[in-house]
Structure formats: C-alpha cells, structure tokens
C-alpha cells in the first residue's frame, strides 16, 4: 500500500515536472527571433530529472534508516518491567506482535492492554513518519522543480545536460556489472592469499593428495593437493567434449545444411530446450539412469565400471553441452557467406564436399571458439559432478573409477559449519580462483578466436 502511494506520488511529480519544464521551454520558442538551444522535450526532462533526484534521495534515506527508527520506537513502547523480563528472542517476537497489530492484522493469543496501546501508538507513529517523509520528499522535489524551471532560458543547454544524465545512468548500470566482477575477483584473491599463509602454493598446486582434515583440531590441517581434483576435472571435461563436440557439430551441420526449413523450425527449439533443463536434473539423470546403465553394460562386457565415475559424469555433461555446441556452430555455419557455397556448387562440388572442403574450413575458427566456450562451461559445471562423479579425489587416470573435481571439493569444503579462519574453508577460495583463471583464460582465448573469424567476413 505504502509503496503504491509512493510510486503514485513519484509518477505524479514526474508528470508535473516534465509538463512544467516542457511548457516553459515551449514558451521560449514564441519569443520572437531567439534561437532556443534545446527542444521543449529536453526542458521537460531536465526539470523532471532535477525534481526526481532530491525526492528519491529522501525516500532512499528513509528506506535505509526507517526500519531502525521504527524498531527503536516500538521497543520504547514496551513497559520497562516487561522489557527487562524479555530475552532477545522474546523481544523480537514481541516486536513482531506489536507490528502485526499496528498493520491491522491483529495478533494471536491473548492481547495485553499495553500491547494494544503499543500497537495503536506504533500505528500512528508509522502513519505520521510516512506522511512526514512523503511531504518532505514532495517539498524537496517541488523546490528543485521551481529552481530547475527558473533556470530554463533560451540558451540553457538542457539537451546536453539530459543526455549527460542518461549517459551517467548507463555508466552506472554497466558499473554494477563490472564492479561486481572486480569485487568477486578481489575477494577470491584476498581469501586465496589467506589460504596460502596456511598452505604453501607449491603444496597446493603440485600436491598429489587431497585430504583436508575438516575437524578443527589445530595444527594438523590435512593436505590440499590440487592435482587429483584437476585431473578429475580435466578427465570429465575431456569425456564431455568427446560426446558434445561430434554430436553437436553434426547436429549443427544437419540443421543448417540438410534439414528442411520446416523440420529445422521444430528441431532447433527442441534442441535448445535441452539447454534449458536445470543441471541438477541432468545430475539426477546421471545418477539414476546413466550410471546404473553403464555399470550393467560394464558387467555385461566384463568391465568393472563404477556407477558413479568420470565416465558417467562426462557423458551426461556432454549431453548437457550438446545444445550449446550445436547452437553456436549453427550460427557460425550460417555466417559463412552463401557466395562460398555457391562457388563450390558452381564447380560441381556435392553437398558433402562443399561442407567438408569449404564451409567447415571457413567456419573452423568460430567452431574452435565455440569449443573453447563449451570447455569453460564443462570445467565450471558443478551439479552433475556432485551427483555423478563419485567424489573420490584420488590421483588416478581411469575414467571408469569415481573421481573428484574442483567444483565438488568447493561444495564439500564450504557447506556445513564454516568459519573462514582455517584452510579447511579458505581452500574454497583458492580452488575458486584456480577455476576462475582457467575459465577466464579459455573465454578470452575463445572470444579472441571468434572475433578474428568475424572480422574475416564483415
């Protein structure tokens, strides 16, 4: 309700401000002979921006400090003797009761007189503060409106100012994304450094044993060797690529070159639905279907395949990545100019010769880029490996055995009780940083290759 009122008031102010700036700007144009710098729309937007900024600032301050003030006021309504008898949880539930009564929902159980009084007092307090803040916002906005309107002259560069403001807003939005990235990287780096004060980077990057001692018994932290996790990750990624790249690429070739447009219109969205399935569902599928199937198949042909293994996780992850590979490759194949296709057909090349000798070589850099992007997805994938890889961080190279990966170890180290003081949980940041550097490197390399390919034809 309050939010609605605020939104309505803001909208009305916005409209009034725009209208007043607009009409003023329009009035300027009638003054004979003067050249007006900006169009009336810009004068309107200029006044609107000036009006909104102070009003929004006041509302933002209230949104930040309001709840605290309300809480202290509520606490002040509780009689001294009752207040003293309450512990923290009791106090919180009492505040909740009073607030619930103030908002008109009432409270369960018996309502004491002082509670009813406190509810009524809080209700009027809330109403008064709300009205006060709103009036304050209107006043601030209004005076800004009057000021901005008084600044409008024929030479006022309202258009420049408004466009400057818009570019700031756009900058602010991109800054959110960029600063978030920087913040994440910074926290990864600093926490990883803390980790390296416990465990030397050499032991971490070159260690062959992953056995963190999770019991916080001081002194003995266990060993944190990255290599078993890295081999597990790379093994699963390699298997996933072996599944995803041929299947995805062939599907893309079929869809972009052979399929009838009507089939393509149906098949392409269907493949892309595969990309929309949550990875946990894929993990589930790996655990209950693919794993047991592979184990039984292994029994049948006399191989000892574990139900949860690098093979299981890799195959399912490959299936998950198929739409990613096929969709990117499809776009890339379609970007190859049709003049090249015509050229090959014109020489009497068959369709498959054209695809093999002309389209694929021309699209190769782009396909390599797609491949690298898919690898970076596979490296960072978590849910499938948590469920299906078996979580056995042991340095070995047999894909039929359970393995551990970087992502799974992060999950294991950071779930449950963590205090971020010992290497047991800080190792998560070191692992995260390793993963981040790997995927970042792959992404940069992939984008570089894709861009080079694009430059060739545009």
């Amino acid at each position: 309700m309050n939010t609605l009122i605020i939104a309505a008031v803001l909208l009305i102010m916005l409209g009034v401000a725009y209208q007043s700036g607009w009409s003023r700007g329009r009035g300027l144009a009638t003054v004979g002979g003067t050249r007006v710098h900006s169009r009336p729309q810009y004068h309107g937007s200029f006044v609107a921006v000036w009006t909104m900024i102070p009003a929004l600032l006041i509302l933002a301050l209230w949104a930040y400090f309001g709840p605290g003030l309300t809480r202290s006021y509520t606490v002040a309504q509780i009689p001294q003797d009752i207040l003293l008898s309450l512990d923290q949880a009791g106090l919180n539930s009492e505040i909740a009761r009073i607030q619930s009564m103030a908002s008109g929902f009432g409270a369960t159980g018996e309502i004491a007189d002082w509670e009813a009084a406190a509810g009524a007092a809080l209700r009027s307090f809330q109403f008064l503060t709300f009205a006060g803040v709103l009036v304050l916002a209107i006043l601030a906005g209004g005076s800004a409106l009057v000021y901005a309107r008084s600044r409008i002259t024929a030479r006022l560069r309202a258009r420049t100012a408004v466009e400057q403001f818009i570019s700031w807003m756009l900058l602010a939005c991109s800054a959110v994304a960029i600063l978030t990235t920087l913040g994440i990287v910074a926290s990864l780096v600093t926490e990883a450094f803390k980790f390296f004060t416990f465990i030397s980077p050499i032991d971490f990057f070159l260690g062959t044993v992953w056995a963190p001692n999770n019991a916080a018994n001081g002194g003995n932290y266990g060993s944190y060797g990255l290599l078993p996790l890295l081999t597990g990750t790379l093994m699963i990624t390699a298997i996933a690529m072996l599944v995803a790249v041929p299947v995805g690429l062939m599907a893309a070739i079929y869809l972009s070159q052979y399929a009838h447009p009507r089939l393509r219109a149906v098949a392409k969205p269907l493949i892309e639905i595969l990309a929309g399935i949550p990875t946990i569902v894929f993990g589930f599928f790996a655990l209950v279907t693919v794993g047991p199937f592979l184990r039984d198949l292994g029994n049948f042909i006399g191989l000892d395949i574990n139900a949860t293994s690098a093979l299981t996780a890799g195959i399912v992850m490959g299936i998950m990545i198929i739409p990613f590979v096929s969709s990117l490759s499809d776009d890339i194949l379609n970007q190859v100019p049709s003049s090249l296709r015509d050229g090959a057909y014109g020489l009497g090349a068959t369709q498959s010769e054209t695809i093999r000798n002309v389209l694929l070589p021309a699209a190769l850099p782009g396909i390599v880029g797609a491949f690298l992007l898919a690898v970076s997805r596979a490296v960072g994938e978590t849910m499938i490996v948590v469920l299906a890889a078996g979580n056995a961080p042991i340095l070995r190279f047999n894909p039929l055995e359970p393995v551990g990966t970087i992502t799974v170890s992060i999950v294991n180290q950071l779930t449950g009780d963590t205090d971020f003081t010992g290497p047991q949980s800080l190792v998560g940041f070191a692992l995260g940083l390793t993963l981040f550097v790997m995927t970042l490197g792959l992404n940069i390399f992939a984008l570089y290759i894709v861009r080079r390919f694009r430059e060739q034809y545009e």
Binding site: P261, P337, S339, L340, R341, D342, G343, A344, Y345, G346, L347, G348, A349, T350, E353, N357, V358, P361, A362, Q456
Partner: protein, 278 residues
C-alpha cells in the same frame, strides 16, 4: 568496336522476337531453352523463356534489375536447385541432352557448365588450392605434376599467372577484387567446362579491372561458350556477339548484338537501350 567487326558479319536481317530463337545464328547451337519458367514459391519469376545459345561465342543477357536474367542463367547449371522453393519448368538442352532429366547428374552438369559469380568468391584457401579445388573433387589429376599443370594453365588462361606466380601459396582472399575475380574464372576453367556462365562478373570491380576481365572474356570465347549477365549495356555491346533483352521475367528480344543495339525491333528494347526504362 573492333571486337565485333571480324567474326560477325553485318547483315540487315530482321530479328523477330522469340518466334524462332535460332534465327540469325551463324555458329552451331550449344544450348537450347524452350518455354522455361521459374517459380519461387508462389511467385513466378520467368515466363516461358526460349533461346538458343551458340557455341564459342559470347551471349549477353541484359535488362533492368529483377528482370529474370540472373534467374535464367542459374537455370543453365541448375544452381536454382540450391534455393528453397524454386521450381523450374520447360526444357533446357545442352548438346541435345535435357539437363533437367531425372537421370542427369547435377555434379557432372556443373563440371561442364562452370559459373563465375557477381561478387568474387574465392575460398579461404591458398591461390593454388582455389584453382586446384575443382580438379581435385572431380579427380582430374592423377598426380601432383598433373595438378600443377592444370592450375598453372588455368591461371594463364585467366591472365593471372604472371601476377601471382610467386605467391601461389598465399590466401586467395588477399588478392585485389579484379584479381580475385580472375582467380574465380581460373577456378572455373580448371574443371574443363564447355560453357561458362558469368553473373555480372564486373559489377563489383573498378573500370580498369573491368577492362581486363572484358578482354579476358573475349579471349576465352575462342574455346568456351560464354553466357554473361550484365546490367551494363556498354559491356554487352563490347563483349558479346548475341544479346537477349529480358524484362519482367520475359525474354523480349534476342539477336545479334549490333542489331539489338542499333536496330531494336521491340519498343521496350528501344526504351531500355535509350535509357528510358531500367
């Protein structure tokens, strides 16, 4: 216009419009088209084209944009097959053989009827591999020496060899526009075609490159049957011995080039040549 004076006799024969397509030809006929129609989906692009195309001469198709001249050209080596929803009716015969017959192998047809496109489209391969591509897929060379010979002679015939002989292994896309187009001509020649179709081969080139290609076309005429689509009437007049004028999907008039340009029978042809339509 010394290109025309030697081989083509100036006669005052009247050219009739599509009544008898082979009238006025002084060379054996290579290609015959009768009542060719093309539909793209529901839209009809060509309405009953009948024309005879003589051996070892240049036939030019002229007409305003969208008149169907390129569409008809693409029928001759069945490039319309690659366009979704295109249907071709009527008959086209190459040396008497129906090229739309069900048992005809389109790959063989395209090896006999080469094509050069509007925009130079070398493959992103080396100059050598561009020219060698056709001979390789058709198995025309038994060994490397054979292939070298085909590539070099094709580049020579296309008048490009002297310019590129030291950089045969550099990418074909690095050449200038005119050189790229000659590379595409060399690529087409390398397959050993009998007919070469050219779809506005100079429209993306500057005047000097255009002049070189036109000279080349005149040389190629000795050995190949050439059909060229052009929107430049001057070009048609310079390079061709026979001209056909297309308008709105119809073949309006055809005949010896000098007759079409000096003495057109049809009013629409006159208008186009005088620059009143198109």
């Amino acid at each position: 216009m010394d290109l025309m004076s030697g081989k083509v006799k100036m006669t005052q024969q009247t050219v009739t419009t599509s009544m008898n397509p082979s009238e006025g030809l002084d060379r054996p006929i290579r290609l015959t088209a009768r009542d060719v129609t093309v539909h793209y989906g529901a839209k009809q692009a060509l309405f009953g084209i009948s024309i005879d195309i003589p051996d070892r001469a240049v036939t030019a198709f002229i007409g305003p944009s969208g008149c169907g001249k390129s569409t008809f050209l693409r029928c001759i080596n069945r490039m319309n097959d690659t366009i979704e929803g295109a249907r071709v009716g009527g008959t086209i015969r190459l040396d008497g053989q129906d090229i739309y017959a069900p048992d005809l192998d389109v790959v063989e047809l395209r090896a006999r009827v080469g094509m050069v496109f509007q925009k130079p489209n070398p493959f992103p391969k080396s100059i050598y591999d561009n020219v060698a591509y056709g001979p390789r897929i058709h198995g025309l060379a038994r060994n490397k020496a054979d292939l070298d010979e085909i590539v070099i002679s094709s580049l020579r015939k296309a008048g490009l060899f002297e310019e590129v002989k030291d950089r045969l292994n550099e990418p074909g896309t690095g050449l200038s526009g005119g050189q790229q187009q000659r590379l595409c001509i060399a690529r087409a020649i390398a397959v050993g075609p009998e007919v070469i179709l050219m779809d506005e081969p100079c429209s993306a080139l500057d005047p000097i490159a255009t002049a070189i290609i036109e000279e080349l076309i005149d040389e190629l005429r000795e050995n190949y049957t050439i059909v060229i689509v052009t929107h430049s009437m001057q070009q048609a007049a310079r390079v061709s011995q026979r001209t056909a004028f297309f308008h709105l999907g119809n073949l309006i008039e055809q005949g010896k080039t000098e007759d079409i340009f000096t003495n057109p029978v049809n009013k629409q042809t006159q208008d186009y040549i005088m620059g009143r339509i198109g």
